[in-house]
């Protein structure tokens, strides 16, 4: 019996097969090639190897299956059918490995890989000895083969891996591990099992009913689930779905345009089609490259933002560690420096007997230096408390006017040494509800700052009510502040430009601490100046 078969071009193009075959197979091949290409981009490595294997195996399978439909050569049909049977279980194994990797976060263990290899051994052995494809069926002209036991062994393997996947998915669903993430599990389980099921069903129906054309709908479903799985991988692995969508869209349009060549007979239709293809190439290229560029830029920005955020967190951590260190170190320093300061004052005041004149100046220096050091330590301690959120305010009724006078008395020797007139202008009493120690620190810091930056002249400290706020103003005739530098004066470690020339002992912490403590009371502090060389005013307001 002779059959009339069309000669196939490139093994796969002929009129022997139904047009549906080309739509189902070529579309799937292009979609899986596209998915394969995307996985070569910077996707995290974990599920992509099994996904690639599945995609490669399926593309090979589709191509070989297309040969069976289109080819007229008996040997070609037998050979490619054998490859189909060899590759088929691999698709299921790769799908199972993908599912395992997706859910476990690690590839299949080695013992199970070798176990799977052992399961594949009969397939390897049966193919070349004719137990996969026995011989050619010439009883009809359908270009069929007579399949051997290997084909049924394949169905067994495919069903085995599908059942294993479903059982594993059920066990995971009811287990504790995915209690908070069941949606992810359900999606990947449904996607993988439906991919396997639609493939298995398509082949199974074809083999047992002989209706291979209808069974092609199963192969149309496979890439849909494949794309779904790729999307899941993307979604959970921050892959960019927009690239996938645009590439798929462009790929689909190309397939559509190319497929029109098979159905268009009139020359003008072919010319229009060629023109459309020629026009589409640059447009598609610019569209794809444009979107890829934009997506990559966005990802780079996102990565930089993440890196910055991590660096910021690390800096905060280091800052906290620094504050803790500062706190511990300051506590250790405070006790000895207080003792030095106290004993120096006692010696200077003659409590231990008269002191010779030549020792007075060194003792003054010890006293002043220890005072400065004690102030600095107090500032450091306050900063570390503020930054660690440990600052506590123990408020009570206090006389602000009295506090101003005391601060002035305390700092008079310092001002006198620079020949600066330090005066207090305060009413009899000015009661406020505040932490005495902290408010004293604010006033002392402001006055001390004014003395430091006043080479000659005077510093006046006045206190008065201003509405519901008690206001202390420290006015000096010092170096003044340029307008552009006033805003940054109260920042940590910030000193005005050229401040080192006037005062070398400043740390840039006094005003910052004063601001923090005043704000901790619900008050505010600010500076005013008419400009460089015209003196300045530091004003603090505390709610009554």
């Amino acid at each position: 019996m002779m059959c009339e078969w069309d000669i196939a071009q490139f093994l796969i193009f002929s009129s022997n097969g139904e047009p549906l075959i080309y739509y189902s197979h070529l579309t799937s091949i292009f979609i899986f090639l596209g998915l394969l290409g995307f996985t070569f981009l910077k996707l995290k490595p974990w599920p992509k190897n099994s996904f690639r294997l599945m995609a490669v195996a399926y593309v090979v399978w589709l191509f070989c299956d297309l040969v069976l439909w289109a080819n007229e050569g008996v040997q070609n049909v037998l050979f490619f059918w054998t490859i189909v049977n060899l590759v088929e279980p691999l698709i299921f194994i790769a799908a199972f490995a993908y599912f395992y990797h997706f859910t476990e976060g690690k590839p299949l263990p080695n013992w199970s890989r070798w176990g799977i290899f052992a399961l594949l051994l009969p397939t390897f052995v049966m193919a070349p000895i004719g137990l996969s494809v026995v011989g050619f069926d010439y009883s009809s002209c359908d270009r069929n083969v007579v399949e051997g036991v290997a084909a049924y062994y394949n169905y067994f393997l495919e069903a085995l891996f599908l059942v294993m996947l479903v059982l594993r998915a059920i066990a995971l669903f009811f287990g504790k591990r995915f209690a908070g993430n069941r949606t992810k599990l359900v999606l990947v389980s449904v996607g993988t099992s439906l991919l396997m099921f639609s493939f298995l069903l398509a082949n199974f129906l074809g083999t047992f009913t002989g209706d291979y054309v209808t069974s092609q709908y199963g192969h149309i479903a496979v890439p849909i689930f494949g794309a779904f799985l790729a999307y899941l991988t993307i979604k959970y692995e921050s892959f960019e779905p927009r690239i996938l969508l645009i590439d798929t869209l462009v790929g689909g349009l190309f397939i559509l345009l190319l497929s029109l060549f098979f159905v268009e007979d009139a020359n003008y239709q072919i010319y229009v089609n060629v023109l459309a293809l020629v026009l589409m190439v640059p447009l598609a290229y610019s569209l794809i490259t444009g979107i890829r560029k934009e997506v990559r830029s966005r990802k780079e920005i996102q990565k930089l933002a993440n890196d910055l955020s991590l660096a910021n967190d690390r800096l905060k951590e280091l800052d906290l560690m620094k504050s803790e260190f500062l706190s511990i170190a300051s506590h250790q320093l405070r006790a000895p420096i207080t003792a030095v300061r106290g004993y120096a004052a006692n010696v200077n005041e003659g409590l231990y007997g008269p002191i010779p004149d030549y020792l007075k100046e060194p003792l003054d220096t010890i006293q002043e230096s220890s005072r400065l050091m004690a102030n600095s330590i107090e500032d450091y301690l306050n900063i570390s408390r503020i930054e660690q959120g440990r600052m506590k305010y123990e408020k009570s009724q206090m006389d602000l006017a009295d506090m101003v006078k005391k601060a002035v008395v305390e700092l008079t020797p310092v001002a006198a040494k620079k020949k600066i007139a330090l005066t207090a202008e305060a009413p009899e009493d000015l009661m406020i509800n505040a932490d005495i120690g902290k408010i004293k620190q604010v006033i002392v810091n402001l006055v001390d700052n004014a003395i430091k930056y006043t080479p000659s002249g005077s510093v006046t400290v006045s206190a008065a009510m201003n509405g519901t706020m008690a206001r202390v103003t420290v006015t000096d005739t010092g170096v003044g502040i340029p307008a552009e530098e006033i805003g940054g004066l109260f920042e940590k470690f910030k000193r005005a430009r050229g401040a080192n020339k006037v005062n070398t002992t400043g740390t840039g912490l006094g005003l910052y601490v004063a601001k923090q403590l005043a704000e901790g009371h619900g008050g505010k502090v600010w500076a005013e100046s008419d400009g460089a060389g015209k003196g300045s005013r530091f004003i603090v307001e505390i709610p009554v």
């Binding site: 390897f124 070349p128 011989g135």
Partner: protein, 65 residues
């Protein structure tokens, strides 16, 4: 443990080698030896399990009628 790891590194080459061998031998069987039967009637076709018991006949070319 090391022995186990050295065994595992052969996994992929072994699988690929088996696939290559299966494809090559199938090619030789079909294209070179032409060792496949051709069936002209459904009555002559063997069942799936029959092939298991009659392997040598599969490797013998069937004369064209």
């Amino acid at each position: 443990m090391q022995e186990k790891q050295s065994l595992n590194k052969y996994f992929l080459p072994v699988v690929l080698a088996f696939y290559a061998a299966a494809v090559l031998l199938s090619y030789i069987r079909i294209y070179v030896l032409q060792a496949y039967p051709t069936y002209y009637s459904e009555d002559d076709m063997p069942g799936a399990l029959d092939t298991l018991t009659d392997i040598p006949s599969l490797l013998t070319p069937t004369p064209t009628p």
